[in-house]
Symmetry: C2
């Protein structure tokens, strides 16, 4: 049976009132004079602001405690404290990656996210257990949430023998992207670690998304090694560098030379815009043609108690981190969780245009900037042409 929707009386970012028709999960037309497809479900948007479905560019749905009893955080201050605490906790607490990733995915959809990239822990203790949980969630949610899974060696790769093989298995069993983590400061051997990552990605024909927390000069060193390999391995346009804190803490000339190489290799950058870390320069990256996009990182997990599955709130935090105050600047913050994120992750058929997937969000807001700072209740969320949430609750 054909699934058709006709959403009338909604407002675009430019103030124009339009209607949207969708058939079989695709936008058929958007405009002032669009008519309803035959037999369509009719929905009056009440003049609300129409936004495209949001894109979460970097999260960890397998490790969240969303909706579970409060996790009392008493973890030590080092990255390695957090890694070993979490691995131990996941082994002993009965934490269920399937249940938790499903709970968080549902909350994402409820708040307007229709595409999501998640990094899933692969390690020699849990092996592919967390991946299996997230694959089950992806299957359950497939009709309303497009999910990319990154096979992520959270506990290190070379430092834990057997991890490379497990990552290979993860890519065979359904992961879409190969993850990596701090080749120098966690793996202890940036050349060997990056070589192994690029070789594995090449063998499986998968793109790469690397967590690079390494600060300042050591981060820049690793990044140069990575860019060398992106070039020699023909991975232009297929690498994301997540976090990239070093790019916010280099002398200007060195930073600009690195950004030029990043632009040239079409490497994309992801930021969660953490207020306590240095971050890549957003406007400069955009000026240089680099796709820079946003994500929440972990939400309510043993790493950090913060975060909500609301990409408008993440856009707000991005705006605050980069001191974006003007309305036109806040459009950039929103772009980080919509168009730029879809481009950075490679989600196809995105946007408010005919032919794109019918992923729509309605909010009561005067403008995109207003939506970002006020984070209003989602009046309506449409994913893949289906109404999935209404007035803040799942439909």
């Amino acid at each position: 049976m054909t699934r058709s929707l006709y959403l009338s009386n909604v407002r675009l970012a430019d103030g124009q009132f339009v209607s949207v028709s969708s058939v079989d999960g695709r936008i058929e037309a958007i405009g002032a004079h669009v008519t309803a497809p035959p037999g369509a479900h009719l929905e009056d948007g009440g003049g609300a602001l129409l936004l495209p479905g949001f894109v979460e560019g970097h999260t960890h749905i397998d490790k969240s405690n969303w909706g579970r009893p409060w996790y009392r955080n008493e973890v030590g201050p080092l990255l390695t404290d957090r890694i070993s605490n979490e691995r131990e906790w996941r082994k002993t607490s009965g934490h269920d990656a399937a249940a938790q990733s499903l709970a968080l995915s549902r909350a994402f959809v409820q708040m307007g996210t229709t595409r999501l990239r998640t990094h899933v822990d692969i390690d020699t203790d849990a092996r592919l257990r967390h991946l299996e949980g997230v694959l089950a969630t992806r299957q359950t949610m497939h009709d309303v949430l497009e999910m990319q899974i990154v096979a992520f060696p959270q506990s290190g790769m070379l430092v834990r023998p057997g991890t490379v093989e497990l990552l290979g298995s993860a890519l065979t069993e359904g992961a879409d992207v190969l993850g990596a983590l701090d080749p120098a400061l966690i793996d202890g051997d940036p050349v060997a670690s990056l070589d192994a990552t690029f070789a594995l990605a090449d063998r499986h024909g998968k793109p790469i998304d690397i967590h690079l927390h390494e600060p300042g000069e050591i981060g820049a060193f690793t990044l140069r090694l990575l860019l060398d390999r992106a070039e020699t391995m023909g991975m232009q346009g297929r690498v994301v560098v997540s976090h990239g804190f070093c790019l916010g803490a280099l002398p200007e000339r060195e930073r600009d030379a690195l950004l030029d190489r990043i632009a040239h290799r079409r490497v994309a950058l992801l930021t969660s815009a953490p207020p306590s870390r240095t971050v890549p320069p957003l406007k400069l990256c955009r000026k240089k043609g680099i796709t820079m996009f946003g994500g929440n990182d972990g939400i309510r997990d043993t790493w950090s108690p913060y975060g909500v599955p609301d990409m408008l709130e993440r856009a707000m935090l991005i705006g605050m981190r980069y001191d974006l105050r003007r309305d036109d600047d806040l459009m950039i913050a929103f772009d980080c969780v919509s168009e730029a994120a879809a481009r950075g992750c490679g989600f196809a058929d995105y946007g408010l245009r005919a032919g794109a997937r019918a992923d729509l969000v309605l909010v009561d807001a005067a403008s995109v900037a207003h939506a970002v700072v006020a984070r209003p209740v989602r009046k309506l969320v449409v994913s893949n042409g289906r109404i999935v949430a209404r007035d803040g609750a799942l439909a």
Copy 2:
């Protein structure tokens, strides 16, 4: 008639279940075996977490657009752009400081704030007009919101002749605290500006709260001049430095020497924890015995579109800025918008203890840390012994 309240079945931060009795706006007792005062209104807390009423340590309720049509921000990037844009806009837009400060004050109370320090613009264009509006709001709200008003020379003091006299009039007409702004970078003469500020405060017997945005070495220079005067003028314990960005950007030895002087003069520090600026070191300040507290700064005004009158959200932003992740660390973030803010502003009779003002907030949260990151709906807000909000709505 006696006004009595008996709130049973609530949970303290340490997990203990207690009841609270209040009579005539004061807490009479808190404990497991407290009984209801005769004729008291009885309220079952349903096991919710009991917090003290929140304290807003630094905001600008006279300039907010809260609840008004969206203000499209197209302002230039400099501090002086923002100042002159705002002064012009307030002259020509019909913005009403009385109506706007009332709307925002009501929203503050609704979200659990019962004490508030606001900086009110005094300048040679508007003269005391904004102050009169805020005084009217203070009068309207006096029973449920304790408000301190700072007479604030937003457009500069020495650079606009006549301002000193207007600030004097403001202090005579009801302002509680003398404000000041960037003695070097706005007033152009740090010595003369600070001398004028301290002389005026001395003449009126009022404390000082200075906006110090001046960065790095110039800020440190101004701060040393300020500390000299705090000492010679006998203003120990009567000066707040708001923002103090410079304290986050000095060489360690210089910073520590300054912090020692700040502690010794009992100067308090206020931060809004902006993610895009350097900030004073929170934990180090506390270790040195400095009262450091939090505030929203402007909310939804021509300066910045951000902000909500929710001190739990501000505590969350403070926590994120200072990378506070552990539960015990998040207690510090909450302290910044409760005890420390009351102490920094000098609000008397604060806290969850017998004899204090009966200012109580109930939320569904497992812990203070949980309340800060989740910012749940306020189940109940009691101010001065009266129920003022319930389930997120004003009563």
